[in-house]
């Protein structure tokens, strides 16, 4: 009832004003909003639609050739996957030809993908293959590096999202106490966040150095010489984990602060009530803290996911996608193709695919973490 009267009085007030005055109000509002709106339209909205447009053309960064409309060709070039079934090479008497180790031999995939008799495989490259019995199944992709980049990006996100969010939460729980000197720890954990990721990446290149890096020296020292130094960034199995560790170390502070803000929003009375009910520490976390952090958790999940999928700077500075594409990511490929190689159309296509990827991940997360109405 009270609300209705409020609205009524507001309406009365409005109608009593001069129409001109309302007009100027609107103009002022538009004026105030316009700097942000113009910038957003110029740098977000227009590029967004341009990327869609370019991805259907052969637009180059610089070229005297006219731009042509290609339809879906860029998407085909980016996303085509095919499976090739190969039987072992047989000699004239029908016996399979074996190599010196006694394994079956197969025709090289490139002899098929570059053979005009097999137009359906033209331009494809070998990604991976599996031997099932005598038959070899080869997965062919039109852009193997992009496919690897896609997998690497997902791998990074799958590890970093729970890892970094969990670590942030643990740190937040540890420093969410009224103890003397806790601010020192808060500061220490937060320091990496304010250091530029470029600087951090360069420093970690030195730390991970295989010959005289800090990490190897420390591990050798701790293990008393038993540890054999590893060239962390030159090894396909250690390069990505090394970058994950560094990224998590650098960014965990900001999520710790957000978790901390969430923790301090939980009313203390709830904990007192839980104490009276005789809840132990774990039960208090499970039934008081965690439900109280729901909105914070959703926010952190979405932001880390988007940041993780956009992995670029560390790769650009530390490994440039190597070794053997094991750290190449989707955004790294978009920049490499679109800007470095001046193929704006292809870079745009990668960006559009990236946009769809992020959008679908975000929608799935939103669905999974929705507030369940009782």
């Amino acid at each position: 009832m009270a609300q209705i009267t409020k609205v009524e009085t507001r309406n009365q007030m409005r109608s009593s004003k001069w129409p001109i005055e309302r007009n100027t109000e609107a103009i002022t509002a538009w004026l105030m909003a316009s700097p942000a709106m113009i910038l957003m339209i110029l740098f977000l909205i227009i590029p967004f639609f341009l990327a869609f447009y370019f991805s259907f053309t052969n637009q180059r960064l610089i070229s005297p050739n006219p731009t042509e409309f290609l339809g879906l060709q860029n998407y085909k070039q980016l996303l085509t996957l095919k499976i090739l079934r190969l039987d072992p090479i047989k000699n004239e008497s029908g016996e399979p030809v074996l190599d010196e180790d006694g394994n079956f031999t197969y025709i090289r995939e490139r002899d098929i993908t570059r053979n005009p008799d097999y137009p359906q495989y033209a331009g494809l490259q070998r990604w991976n293959s599996w031997d099932v019995g005598k038959t070899r199944f080869t997965l062919l992709a039109s852009d193997v590096v992009f496919m690897k980049s896609l997998i690497n990006t997902l791998y990074f996100a799958i590890v970093i999202v729970p890892g970094q969010a969990g670590l942030g939460l643990i740190l937040a729980l540890l420093i969410n106490r009224r103890v003397k000197g806790v601010n020192v720890f808060r500061t220490i954990y937060f320091i990496p966040v304010v250091v530029s990721i470029v600087v951090v990446s360069i420093l970690f290149r030195f730390i991970y150095d295989g010959d005289n890096g800090l990490l190897n020296s420390a591990l050798v020292f701790i293990t008393g010489g038993a540890f054999k130094p590893i060239d962390w960034l030159a090894n396909t199995t250690t390069a990505m984990p090394a970058i994950m560790l560094m990224s998590a170390w650098q960014a965990v502070g900001i999520h710790m602060i957000i978790w901390l803000a969430g923790l301090q929003n939980i009313p203390f009375t709830l904990y007192e009530a839980a104490d009276i009910d005789g809840a132990n520490a774990f039960q208090k976390f499970l039934y008081v803290t965690w439900p109280g952090l729901h909105n914070t958790a959703v926010f952190i999940l979405v932001t880390i996911t988007i940041a993780a999928l956009g992995l670029f700077t560390q790769i650009h500075v530390m490994t440039r996608g190597g070794p053997l594409d094991s750290t190449s990511t989707v955004i790294f490929q978009a920049v490499r193709k679109g800007f470095d190689m001046q193929n704006i159309a292809y870079g745009s296509t990668i960006s559009v695919v990236f946009f769809i990827l992020v959008l679908s991940v975000a929608i799935i997360q939103r669905y999974l973490t929705r507030e369940k109405s009782s």
């Binding site: 180059r60 960064l61 610089i62 470029v198 700077t313 500075v317 190597g322 470095d340």
Partner: protein
Amino acid sequence: MKKNKVFCSILAVLIALSLVLTACGSSAAGPSEDLAPGEVSEVVESGSSSTRTKLSMWYHGAGNEVERNILLSIIDDYNNSQDKYVVEVQDFPQISYNASVVAAALAGNLPDIIDVDGPVMPNWAWAGYLSPLELSDGALDEFLPSTIGMWEGEVYSVGLWEAACAIYARKSVLDQYNIRIPTLEQPWDLEEFDAALETLQASGEFDYALDLGMAWTGEWYPYGFSPFLQSFGGDIVDRSTYTTAEGAMNGPEAIAFGEWWQSLFVRGLVPGTTQDSADRDTGFIEGRYAMMWNGNWAGASALEPYGDDLLILPAPDFGNGSRIGAGSWQFGVSADSQNKEGANEFIEFMMQDKYLVAFSNGINNIPSTPSAAAASELYASGAPFEIFFEYSAAQSTLRPPTPAYLTAALVFEKALADIANGADVVDALDAAADEITADIVANGGYGFDGSVVGPSIQEDEIATGK
């Protein structure tokens, strides 16, 4: 048409923005000093009246005080020498220079005079940024061929200096291990070079027998390493037609190169792709690397600790001639320039020997003419780096002069890094050849129609012993 222009200008704005971002991102990675372009622009005052025509010029050397002062003094001399034109220069950090020119070209804002990296020049000429030079007859007669930028039979750019690569080593070390000291006439061949590396590595005295400079990602890979491939008989693209990389990048010669390249890393003779730039700068000087593959620019710092013991050795001959990269920064006139006559006049003014000498003495590069080399501090007869001029004159091999180079160079870099990291050699070279060829096809041949336009790398004059 109009629509296209709108797209282009929006694209230009975006590129400018990404430029700022990449400049921020990568400046820390390289040795560059980041200055905003506008900050360092300077109008050269020389009692100019408003009747004089302004010639704008862009230069890639922001942050290098010595280089800048030489350039400014030349501009001063020119402005005082006549009363028709006034040259004004604007400096850019090298790391973002190329992108700045591309953005300006899209926006139609190119200056009258631009400098351009040798291997990039054909791309810009093809794209229509540059117009051919109109110099007086005989102006280029004395210049090293590799300092003259040609595209479609016309001269588009000219360089006041050249750079050259060599193997840095120490006489005492080679003598100690009974390794023959190679000469320009008789460089090491593959077996001899390989044996020398094995011997030095086996001595246990060094971390690595040779430092290739794998820490220097980017243009160093094609500049420093594609001459090895060419010396084996392969190439980045087939330069008889410039329309394919098939057979050049992945032929038997290229595979032989790839196998050898990979073996360097497998045998632990050279530092790998994760070498950091500090090791690259100090490894040879501190005696941790026995030898170093590097350019003339590294000479001064190597001369300091080793003095007379320092050897500057020619690149090995892997079968198709002893080769080093060629083509440094050069000057050209933009296609949009309203004052082409003045721009050409200024470039010709810069080409005087005294300025070539000034640049050489100031920034340690090799002067483009024999007479200037003879007058310079470092390359004169009897001077410590005299040999570099000879190497440059005898072994220079241009990176393929085609607009396709821009993309091909990146593909080549990735292929070499992958092979160094253990990729299957044949697969990596096949993939690289496919990618380079596909890019050429997607660009309508980059101005080549597939007919034979020149000798392949195996038929050119170095291999046939000119």
